[in-house]
Symmetry: C2
Subunit: 200 residues, 2 copies
Amino acid sequence: MSLRFALLALLSSRPMTGYDIAKHFSQSVAHVWHAPDSQIYPELNRMERDGLLESVPVRWGPNGTKKEYHVTDAGLAAFREWIDSPLEIRRQRDPTYLKAAYLEWADPDAARAQLRQHHDYWTKHLALLEHTRQTLIDHTHPTLMHRLTKFPAEEHERIVRFKVFAYDGLVDQARAEVAWAERGLALVDELEGASATPPE
Amino acid sequence: MSLRFALLALLSSRPMTGYDIAKHFSQSVAHVWHAPDSQIYPELNRMERDGLLESVPVRWGPNGTKKEYHVTDAGLAAFREWIDSPLEIRRQRDPTYLKAAYLEWADPDAARAQLRQHHDYWTKHLALLEHTRQTLIDHTHPTLMHRLTKFPAEEHERIVRFKVFAYDGLVDQARAEVAWAERGLALVDELEGASATPPE
DNA sequence: CTTCACTCCCTATGGAGATAGGTACTATGG
DNA sequence: CCATAGTACCTATCTCCATAGGGAGTGAAG
């Protein structure tokens, strides 16, 4: 159900087509939510049917049209209601930590490869997050810039600080993952000296 | 697909019934993986059909029997193969951070309530994780104790250190969530003074 | 000897999400 | 004017997971 609100959040900055949204979801906004287009298009249709969005046909080339989605008042109300509603708590279900707890069964080289993969992924992700965080602070983040034009200047700080707050958390998470992977690599090295053969 | 390997991981310490597993999943093991019994029973049946497990009927009272599941050689091989296989990367999809990025739309009291809820949840979870981590170090963790009896003493350190490593990461995550929620509460207090009315 | 909490196993339903396609038009660059 | 990349929209299928039940036996307390 969060996809619906992620879409409302994005569209509250400016109207977009499904294609625009899918592009954003695979880029910057993917840091807080991600969805493939095969989920986005049906959800947009459902949201229009439910009155949360209105689609405006826009000419596109000589023969084509595209649908630009605008948030309705009902959509804004639904978004506000969601924002004020209690959190849904997600259970922990991370295959990485499940695997890590049983690495004594793994070949040391396979363990190293996985920890390095984890390290590389989070290092790249961390760089992206830090960059995006900086564009928020600079007010150069494209979606944020569109959003700010809709609000008076005295609201701007408030809006930006919550976004930076969210990214602060994501950056800390990424840093922790990188540090954890480094400790894991050191552990594998240390234990390989002690016992080079896997158990049993 | 990870549920299957979480079950193999648990059953590799000792044979259990589906009910035993469901209990463990809702308690300590839930830290790395969680599943309701309605997923566990069908999966156990499928795993037996696939030859990864064998069920042994055990008398239970005068009229009843229960099925105790044992890992087969094929099951152990599948587990080893999974352990050595590359990681599957999970996309970030956390409704908490999505919401946090748009808290400028929220009523300050609602925002505070949510951040406090997040704080309380992770504080409790952190205490559980730290406790479990300590029982691993002490060798008083019940499942670990069963597991260690299957391996020679010189393997014990290796086994325990990987489990502690996994919990180290989980503990750091929980600490980060608690700290993030505290910063969020401070931010809401600070901004409420600046602008008591929601945007628009 | 009955009530009640617990053990044990299972099914049904529906939403969410991943993956993998398909169709049709546009804009570009050679 | 044609190949190609890109824009735009959509469907099908499958797995995962959550939620909500049902049904039958056990063991201990009153």
